[in-house]
Symmetry: D2
Subunit: 161 residues, 4 copies
């Protein structure tokens, strides 16, 4: 399979993250790489680093879309650092480049990315993350699961064309 | 009062919007301008246009941060069209430039902006908008109100330095 | 004349700048404001600050498109600080928003903005700035002048619709 | 050699391009890949496509930083399409991510990127491209060559850390 046929899957979440979130992210990264997907993320620490570590352990390509001006801020498991200097606007590049997104835990930055993924119709799978309601009606657009291997499998299956 | 001492307040929300959302946005825009604030928004239709219309009716300055490549997409009540060509990344410019944000109704794009405002600690006031919970715990960071004049007053009061 | 009919003219150039460049920029800013134009610039020091100072002395609106994350970096003559957090990508917002551009002196950043203005067909007027050739052929797309008042007048005249 | 130790080299230039520029770009891409570098470019046609074609023929990774909202605009030789939706601001991401830049031919957009590369001190090598002067003094910051294989070799040698 040439690289250009590989699915590109984003993993988003907190930096720093809890040990449990890190454990989930590492499994997700490893399972994505095993199934031949390219991992895209923000390239920094926390959930991003754990996911890259998992992906690299299975020989996967890991793309880090960095917010600042130097490649030095990439975690050591990023194989291709993309230096944007765009600050938080880099989050939009991550979501637009992904064919599916897996959100793990996360704070308001992750919430912002989830909202953007829903807006542009990229499938999004959540592990221990936000729930949403609007005018007192629950919104079920985030696909919730507690199993990281299932999340990886589902992301690849749903990956938009 | 010189322009440089004026507060800059963002109004965000759906495009298109419901008549009720439009009514709320127009009042918010008018009240902001009456109190000497500069309105910043995405410069397009729906909630954005209604807010600009209200602000212009009271003689206010209205800044439209446009996503596309031409000033022609600005609604007719934008006094200063800023043409970004950045697509959705322009939402981040709106939030970063605002000293407080008022969200009116809104879909996933508005949710994404709310998440970003919370991340960067810009005060956010909601009229008929999203509610949030995380891991089954309600998050009360959005200040909810049903009174558009009160929303405008509160935004100016809370406007960060 | 309502704000929405005002021409938006960019002034770009070095930060820091020479005293002579500052003198030219201040005259340009003042003449633009006298003729009712809105000044847009990067909002920082050097040529940008001198142009804003001149514009404000004649009662003009000055828009500063800031690269960083805080409004505190705006020079004191910016009436509307726009906070982008986009770093150098904010230069593109300045050029896209302008109906004509005046370049005064300037280094490689200014050269980059001149190239972009020429690419998107925004008229560009140069005072003491770059000259260009490609494959040994001179490129005369920058309108060169040494008179700052003439530059302001020409910019407003050429301002694209 | 793991991916994370590979040099990332940008190739920039016109779209469309002349047959001679395409020939040069294809050799540059092939030589970069042979020497183990990752190619980064705008991911579209012209010089970008020719460089990707050359790199892929030698088994290299090719990153395309796309301006629009869809991966469909990538040329067929891009192995990792990054979808930015940022328009021309994506050029800045290309330059910031590169450890050296090779410019081949090119119009005003390429001139803008050259200016930006010089501003941020990324080494830049030119084949049939712009020459610069400022206030009637020639600027020799672009390293000019007519040999595409030499350009590739020099880019890797100069690639900033």
């Amino acid at each position: 399979m040439s690289d250009s046929n590989k699915k590109i899957i984003a993993v988003i979440g907190g930096f720093p993250c809890s040990p449990e979130e890190g454990r989930l992210a590492e499994i997700v990264g490893r399972e994505l790489a095993k199934k031949g997907a390219i991992l895209i993320c923000g390239g920094e620490g926390g959930v991003m680093e754990a996911a890259c570590k998992g992906a690299q352990s299975a020989g996967g390509i890991t793309i880090g879309i960095l917010p600042g001006d130097g490649r030095q801020t990439a975690n050591p498991y990023v194989s291709v650092p993309i230096v944007t200097g765009l600050g938080a606007a880099r989050n939009i590049v991550i979501i637009k480049s992904a064919q599916a997104v897996i959100a793990i835990g996360g704070g308001y930055g992750t919430l912002s990315e989830i909202g953007f993924a829903l807006k542009v119709n990229v499938p999004i799978i959540g592990l221990n993350t936000w729930s949403l309601s609007r005018n007192n009606q629950t919104d079920n657009s985030i696909i919730l699961t507690e199993d990281p291997a299932a999340a990886a499998e589902l992301a690849i299956e749903l990956a938009a064309g």
